[in-house]
């Protein structure tokens, strides 16, 4: 089957999840074509790496100026498909921008989307998607029944990224983005980069997350400090994101990010199913919670029944002491 991967990039580097999707596409295509569609300033810098991970052809829409990618990138892909260049499947990374492209494309082509995919397999020529439901306690497998191409929106860390053996340089096709009129009227006026030290949440080998048990927004400082000391990233439960303690970009879970670190430290998080689905694939889980019956302990390799406001400061001091 032919697979097109939406290859979001930043400053000429494809996002990690894009390389995961290309790797998956290679193993699922079964001799079919694996191609990538990229856009944005610096996109031509990403072409080489996309090739290394198996894209034999890269469509490059180039700089999109102050447009949001959704409407025009979707319009360009829809145009290609209508002109007869339809892949069997379109793989979309679960990111802020690419999910917009998937939504626009779905409505334009009148094709449904399957989202929150955590695994893919082929069965009798059909592509089957896997979805973690009910806190990851069950796996639902689904497929499209109508005409293709199917639009598959896939979560990060569902596949390991591996370069393709003997990959050559991909063919590059420059794509001109169509004008879409009113749908493209939202424009980016400025970009604000919030200070971010350490690795990205979904790429970190250590993730320290805080929940309601921290007691107050100020105490989230412990989470950030511990994450920094361990060269990790700071995460959060939905409860404290909903309460406005930390921005949505820190949220781990069903409606947030999926993480798969070497160690996940959950502090003051009880372990709602909505949270567990986003972190239960961590190699090691340490949980600190004062409620001995908290569900998080049922999946923790090390569970500490105690008050985070007592345990965390001591933990921070003792790690500082070792590193001094």
């Amino acid at each position: 089957m032919d697979i097109l991967v939406l290859a979001e990039q930043s400053d000429g580097s494809p996002l990690g999840i894009v390389l995961e999707l290309l790797t998956a596409a290679r193993s699922l295509a079964g001799g079919g074509a694996v191609e990538a569609f990229t856009w944005g300033a610096g996109a031509s810098g990403a072409v080489g790496v996309l090739g290394e991970y198996g894209a034999t052809r890269v469509y490059n829409a180039g700089d999109i100026g102050d447009s949001l990618p959704g409407p025009r990138v979707a319009a360009a892909i829809a145009q290609q498909i209508t002109a007869g260049g339809a892949p069997d499947a379109i793989f979309v990374p679960t990111t802020y921008d690419a999910r917009d492209v998937a939504g626009r494309l779905s409505a334009r082509l009148d094709r449904p989307v399957l989202t929150n995919i955590v695994g893919l397999a082929t069965e009798g020529g059909d592509l089957i998607s896997e979805h973690a439901i009910f806190g990851g306690s069950q796996v639902l497998r689904a497929r499209f029944t109508g005409d293709g191409p199917g639009i598959y929106v896939i979560r990060a860390k569902s596949f390991a990224a591996e370069p393709a053996e003997g990959a050559g340089a991909p063919e590059v096709v420059a794509v001109e983005l169509p004008e879409t009129g009113p749908t493209d009227a939202a424009k980016v006026g400025g970009r604000h980069v919030e200070e971010q030290s350490g690795p990205k949440l979904d790429e970190a080998t250590v993730v320290v997350s805080g929940g309601r048990g921290l007691g107050s927004a100020e105490n989230y400082g412990w989470i950030v400090e511990l994450a920094d000391l361990l060269h990790g990233a700071a995460g959060a439960s939905r409860a404290i994101v909903d309460s406005g303690w930390v921005p949505y970009s820190h949220q781990v879970g069903q409606t947030g990010k999926t993480v798969k670190p070497t160690v996940y430290i959950a502090a003051g998080i009880s372990g709602a199913t909505q949270h567990m689905v986003g972190m239960k694939a961590a190699k090691n889980i340490i949980a600190i919670n004062k409620d001995a019956d908290a569900p998080i302990f049922s999946i923790a390799d090390l569970g500490v029944v105690g008050d985070v406001s007592k345990v965390l400061p001591k933990l921070i001091e003792s790690i500082k002491g070792r590193q001094a």
Binding site: D100, S106, A107, P112, V113, K187, Q254, I299, L302, G303
Partner: protein, 261 residues
């Protein structure tokens, strides 16, 4: 300014959820509640209308079974009226089918709203594409993952969450904006609000009264099928330590053992 807010009534997330054994859709029996995720959009809409000096907040919702209890919560917060699309044909609808219904319902509004707010995704289905599908069907611009919204001079200014921080995005109206949770503090309905909500108008539509066909919505419109539902690989608990002042040492030892320290 008139603002429409798309809201979903969902089974209480505090209750255990289940799949219907034959259809593999979420069981939606019993009382439905307003999705918490939507309370932020309702609150933001109320604030925007108050700031603009007039206008109404109108709720748009769909349900297979005439359910209004979640809508009453949002009406009690201060929304003026609601449009409920209720039809057994809607059972099994996916995100695109839902967007088609919401778009058709929004087109019935007189006067047309200048702004449509949604959550970024529902708590129960969390597909997360409906707001943008809706915008495309309406032919409107959209700004997703808004953490701050201001309206003035016929345009909406949004701080849009990004991986690195946020973008300032400006869009002319009408537009669809999806709002992330936690960005405003949803008000609690007052007693007066709850009483007033009982008599606020909820106009009902069906699939056919919106001019949609059976093929576009529900199971047939979704064009996707569940192949199987299986238990996932289980993960079990390990060592439990009760903190008596020294538990941090056990954590340090664990981190050493896995070579993180």
């Amino acid at each position: 300014m008139n603002v429409a807010v798309c809201v979903k009534q969902i089974p209480d997330p505090a209750e255990p959820s289940a799949l219907d054994a034959s259809t593999h859709t979420l069981v939606r029996e019993g009382k439905l509640v307003l999705d918490d995720s939507d309370s932020y959009g309702v609150e933001m809409a109320l604030q925007l209308v108050e700031t603009s000096g007039g206008g109404d907040v109108i709720l748009i919702s769909m349900a297979p079974n005439n359910e209004t209890s979640g809508l009453r919560t949002a009406l009690a917060m201060g929304a003026a009226s609601a449009v409920l699309v209720s039809d057994p044909l809607l059972k099994g609808s996916d995100a695109l089918g839902t967007a088609k219904v919401l778009a058709a319902a929004i087109r019935t509004l007189e006067p047309a709203p200048e702004l449509v707010l949604t959550a970024t995704e529902s708590t129960d289905g969390y597909t997360g594409t409906t707001p943008v599908q809706l915008a495309e069907l309406l032919g409107w611009p959209s700004v997703t993952f808004a953490k701050h919204v201001e309206v003035g001079d016929g345009s909406v200014k949004v701080q849009r969450q990004t991986e690195a921080g946020y973008d300032e995005v400006t869009s002319p109206l009408p537009a669809v904006v999806s709002v992330t949770a936690g960005v405003v503090e949803p008000r609690y309905p007052s007693f007066k609000g709850i009483m007033a909500a009982r008599s606020k108008p909820v106009s009902e539509h069906t699939v056919s009264s919106l001019g949609l066909t059976q093929d576009e919505v529900g199971f047939s419109g979704a064009r996707q099928a569940v192949v199987s539902v299986q238990a996932a690989e289980a993960r079990s608990g390990g060592e439990i330590v009760i903190d008596e002042g020294e538990a941090h040492e056990r954590i340090v030892a664990f981190l050493e053992q896995i070579k993180v320290l």
